[in-house]
Amino acid sequence: MSAATAVRATPTFRPALTRRRAAGIAFAGVAVAAIGVLLLALALLLWDILSRGLPWLDADFLTGVPSRRPERAGILPAIVGSLQISVIVGLLAFPTGVAAAVYLSEYAPAGRLSRILRTNIANLSGVPSVIYGIFGLALFVRLAGLGFTLLAGALTLTLLILPVVIIASIEALKAVPDSQREGALALGATRWQMVRRAVLPAAAPGIMTGIILAMARAIGETAPLVLVGAFTFVTFLPDPFQGGYTVLPIQVYQWAQRPQADFQAISAAAIAVVLALMLALNALALIIRARLSRSIQW
């Protein structure tokens, strides 16, 4: 320490605050610019879509059926198809997804098996959607013999979003502190009672949000449905079990590929409808999250 004392007089702090502050301001400027670019891109996108599509967006368009003439074309079958698909997907994915999540996070004995199961789910969620399309094509359309039906499409999308639902639900279940589980068990609850009465209610907001966002995603999916046959020119309302159906994004795609400007415009109008649907679902999710989680502040 004596050597240290010798040099002790010299060292000093030179905070150089002006320089440090300037660096900070520069960084903040760049960051604001970045977000500005993003917001600008979004604004341009919306402006472009709306300016093209809005003039075409009227009651006839919403209630009409596709036509070879843009001014007479409508998207009712696509809207109905999208809604049917998202409802079926929701109905199938919700119980299965939550059940799987509950098993994985509350029941599966901690160990290799459960780790493999979880990793597997995580990886499934990252598999590109076309691959699900291919799988759906092979499994539902061909092997199960469902053909190019809306049901086959819905089942394919269910598989697609199931990992998303499971992961969201697991996250929601994980967010419930262990102390809640122990609290229930310490009162003499069985495991199922604990899950049913303590864990699931506490995780409900997160699970609900996850499901709704997954349904929104299902509405926007295009590629897998291309593979399982939703590309028919559909002028009737789809029956889930009979062939021939379309959905909004597919309709968008179909029109967007036409060289005529008018078709591009009604494509934009259809996009506006899809976006509106998605925004509505997103808003619903936000509201549920805010509502339900207000009472739960660990």
Binding site: F27, V30, Y103, L104, T119, G126, P128, P163, Y253
Partner: protein, 310 residues
């Protein structure tokens, strides 16, 4: 009850496990099994057809050939042009998305007031929710004609280009990076920031020297996930990049990605059992392998990041 036990009656502590318990567990377990079945199904489907494909096309040609021609004879099955196209689009996307996403994340997590964050964050999440077909539309009918061509000249860049596809895919995955990174940044305990402030650090220093390093693994994971997502992205590129598989690194060229090829094939009435149909699966298998590898990597990183601090 212990009075009872003292009198010699059976143990009051014992009870049979109710059947509801066992039934519930069995149901839940079968739901969880579905995930595994899906994976096996995918792998099986891809494997079977891919093996069939390699019965007709040599793997050597598939993996090293530099020409891909699936619909125009002479057929050529070299996947490199598709793979290169895919990677080119992904690279462009990341070049855009990493800075935009990270800066947005930092701005939202560290600088924005709760009110600003409350407004901006849902907007960014909206971008993430935009159907990809819409972004393809945007690339094809706005970005290319109204931005890129005026900027670079019509002779340099056409309607279809890797660049316009890459840019919208970048726009698509930016919220992914922003969102996961922001979560990672915000997961850094407040105490850590205050610790740095208390030593006389400026806000920028707190962010740069403490918060970002602490969240680094989460940030890395988000980037890898974004990359995987960009590689697997389909509809945006189907519309934006064209149908011209070629081995090039020039972003202004029209190209084709693996996903775009898959969609293209499935749109035409390709008979089951044809080489084209099997090629679909072979390409899908490559795509699946690439994204799987990236996902596993990302999950590894996330898992490590979880155990960091309490």
């Amino acid at each position: 009850m212990s009075a009872a036990s003292a009198a010699g009656r059976p143990l009051a502590l014992s009870r049979r496990r109710p059947w509801t318990e066992r039934a519930a567990e069995a149901l839940l377990r079968s739901a969880a099994a579905l995930g595994v079945l899906t994976t096996f199904g995918i792998v099986a489907v891809l494997a079977v057809e891919t093996v069939g494909f390699f019965g007709e096309v040599s793997p050597l040609e598939f993996f090293t050939g530099t020409v891909w021609s699936a619909s125009i004879k002479p057929y050529a099955w070299g996947i490199l042009p598709l793979a290169a196209g895919t990677l080119l689009v992904a690279a462009i996307a990341l070049v855009v998305a990493i800075p935009l996403g990270l800066l947005s994340a930092i701005l939202l997590a560290e600088y924005a007031s709760p009110r600003v964050r409350g407004v901006v964050k849902p907007i960014l999440e909206t971008i993430a929710g935009i159907p990809t077909i819409v972004l393809g539309f945007f690339a094809l009918y706005f970005l290319a004609p109204n931005v890129l061509q005026p900027l670079l000249g019509k002779d340099v860049i056409g309607t279809f280009s890797a660049l316009s596809g890459g840019l919208v895919v970048g726009l698509l995955v930016t919220p992914l990076i922003a969102s996961i990174s922001e979560d990672a940044l915000r997961a850094v305990p407040r105490g850590m920031r205050e610790g740095a402030y208390a030593m006389g650090a400026t806000r920028f220093e707190v962010v740069r020297s403490v918060v970002v390093p602490a969240a680094l693994s989460g940030i890395m994971a988000s980037i890898i996930l974004a990359m995987s997502r960009a590689i697997g992205e389909t509809m945006a590129v189907v519309l934006a990049v064209g149908t011209n598989p070629q081995l090039t690194l020039d972003p202004t060229e029209s190209i084709q990605t693996m996903t775009a090829f898959i969609v293209q094939i499935s749109l035409g009435d390709t008979p089951q059992g044809s080489v084209q149909f099997k090629a679909l699966f072979a390409v899908a298998a490559v795509l699946f392998t690439m994204t799987l590898a990236l996902n596993i990597l990302s999950n590894r990183i996330v898992a490590r990041f979880r155990t960091g601090y309490g």
